[in-house]
Amino acid sequence: MKAKFLASAGIVAATAVALTGCSGGSGSGGGGGSEAASCTNTIVNAEAPQVTVWAWYPAFNEVVDQFNNANDDVQICWTNAGQGNDEYTKFSTSIESGSGAPDVIQLESEVLSSFTIRDALVDLTEFGADDVKADYAEGAWEDASSGDAVYAIPVDGGPMGMLYRQDLFDAAGIEVPTTWEEFEAAAKKLKESGDGAVIADFPTNGRAFNQALFAQAGSVPFEYDSANPQEIGIKVNDEGAKKVLEYWDGLVKDGLVATDDAFTADYNTKLVDGSYAVYLAAAWGPGYLQGLSDADPNAVWRAAPLPQWDAASPVQVNWGGSTFAVTEQAKDKELAAKVAMGIFGNEEGMNLGVDKGALFPSYAPVLESEAFADKEYEFFGGQQINKDVFLDAAAGYEGATFSPFQNYAYDQLTVEIYAMVQGEKDASQALDDLQASLEQYATEQGFTIK
């Protein structure tokens, strides 16, 4: 066991070090040949100092090339160190060992506080982050900052909407639901029509998806400020969360929704073969859907706003979204901050991200541009989904606070929702148990609970 465990730890560390081989000599001109070899991209200007970047954005190579061509004084050395948790594992290991981290790293906003609490990220305000604040969507900026500190520059967001199968709705005679009440009625109608589809999936491992649904009903699970890092407020079992979970528990019990694990092969197939009539999605969802290779060519997909609890006062929520942060291990922090702010902080770079990588920009000049609003999506029969759905959702999003042990909180959420779906607990009990386990964990970790 020990051998195996340590061997894998060693491999992770070794890979991390190997991947960032070029960080060692950034700024020094000598030995450029072998250093450049470990970058995924080609370095345009070998004389300029290099900044290492870990990122997994689709089509990122073109964005990097664009940046390197446009900048003589700094070059990006890019590595794809894996997506989401894969990358965080490597980053986490290099924080622990004190070396091997890149200068700039792509992080989802929900994990930022998990790394700031380990003193792994640089506060960017001293490098002029406040000056570019106006360039970014408010909610996204809020997600990337904690108190007065700014720990990352937002890149893309995930305002939520509802993607639905117009053909299935028409066949069952269903109007597009605008509230959750109508959504439930539509689910019943669809089931009665007997064509085998359910209205949607409620994944027990939905993590940020489930959390976003809770937030829509006013749930504020965590209170946390990196200025006072040893204090945390936990309220995962508040009224909003209970209301939402009870609602979905009802749908599950009545067999109106599926409970497949999200992002598995089964789920991906069902998403496109007509098993689910609705895909409750973030703004990156259309790109994801389109990328599933077996997409049914006869399916008619359309986008609509996320159903609301109260149609009179709609609440917009966000699922996912990522940022660029500068690590404490960065050799030249000012230069790294320049890269973090500069890669997508210009229209050319961001447009590449939007057109080639289907990103939903947080950068205001592109986000608010007419071209973006008017963009027609062939996959949705030419519908202008940004104008119709996602721009409103993005504008209404006010930001959220995540815990410094978000991964643990999500894992426990999965455990509790699964127990609920299995019929072992009711919604309220599941959330109370979640609250208790998170409080215990926080105490064990030395936090004071507000």
């Binding site: 066991m1 948790n85 694990d261 089964d266 699964y418």
Partner: protein
């Protein structure tokens, strides 16, 4: 396995005789050459096994929580580990696996080896290869493959059960995941153990069988009364392999977790618990302590098993 095998020092085995005599210069020179040959291995052994072990053990004596700094706590992490309900539950799970999975693997391997030992046709060679092939499939690939076979959407189960008008069982549901994992491991390892047992069977002098036949022994009597007792040391070795492997159960549940997160929590086995503590929750100190605690459990179990079977294994 590292827990049971002490580093052997074969290059010193013959030394005591020589030491009594006058130091032989020739011998000394030879010994230096010996060191040279051992050096590459020793270097790797030290850097990648001994040093990390020492480092991890040192880490396990400290604690560093998210909100407070790093401080020395001595054996506290071990006390915490052995009273941690999640760790103990994981140990319970692997103990349950050991009780079911090891006999299952042994039975399949032993029966297959005994049958193949008696066959002399071409089918024997072919079957041997077929039974062994799953072992040649990397564990991760095997688990991924079974993940698809178990899938309600892609798996063959729904069509097979459909023939009889039945609904296929949900292999990845909470109630069935235990059996599904036992099946994967048995499929993967029985062939390997079969080869070990088969090799031991081939080592038996055929003259013994002739004598037994002359005495009127039936095939079954030869198998159970002669063959099995004569290969008991190999059987003990196989059980030890299986025991250590099962207590360290990790890869298959970790891979299947990708398609059944609810049924397989992050702390399903002690090894998975240590993994998620270290890499998902950044608790490297406690993860080290859990790893060493598991190492202790593996050592104790292996030791007792070897002690109990010292007669059969020829170790007494």
């Amino acid at each position: 396995m590292a827990t049971t095998t002490a580093p052997t020092s074969s290059h010193r085995a013959e030394a005591p005789h020589q030491v009594k005599h006058r130091p032989d210069r020739n011998y000394r020179r030879k010994q230096r050459w010996g060191w040279l040959f051992v050096a590459p291995f020793a270097l790797i052994f030290l850097t990648f096994l001994i040093l990390p072990l020492v480092y991890a053990f040192r880490m396990s004596l400290f604690t560093s929580t998210l909100a407070t700094g790093n401080r020395f706590v001595g054996g506290d992490n071990y006390i915490k580990a052995f009273s941690d309900p999640i760790f103990l539950q994981g140990l319970g799970t692997v103990a349950k696996f050991a009780l079911i999975m090891i006999p299952a693997q042994m039975l399949v391997a032993l029966v297959a080896a005994l049958v193949l030992d008696n066959l002399t046709t071409w089918a024997s060679k072919f079957s041997r290869l077929m039974i062994f092939i799953p072992y040649a499939v990397p564990v991760v690939i095997g688990a991924l493959m079974w993940g698809f076979l178990y899938s309600p959407r892609f798996g063959p189960a729904s069509s097979i059960f459909g023939i009889f008008g039945l609904a296929a069982p949900e292999f990845l549901a909470q109630d069935n995941i235990f059996g599904s994992l036992v099946n994967i491991v048995t499929w993967q390892w029985a062939g390997y153990y079969m080869i070990i047992i088969y090799a031991a069977l081939r080592g038996i002098d055929p003259g013994i069988y002739e004598a037994a036949v002359l005495d009127g022994a039936s095939d079954r009597q030869i198998a159970l009364r002669i063959k099995v007792p004569m290969i008991s040391s190999s059987l003990v070795m196989v059980v030890i392999f299986a025991l250590i492997g099962t207590l360290q159960f990790f890869t298959e549940p970790q891979v299947l977790r990708g398609v059944a997160q609810g049924a397989i929590p992050t702390s399903y086995t002690p090894n998975m618990y240590a993994f998620s503590l270290a890499f998902s929750y950044s608790q490297f100190n406690y993860a080290s302590a859990i790893s060493f605690a598991l190492g202790i459990v593996v050592f104790v179990f292996s030791f007792f098993f070897l002690f109990l079977t010292r007669k059969q294994s020829g170790l007494k």
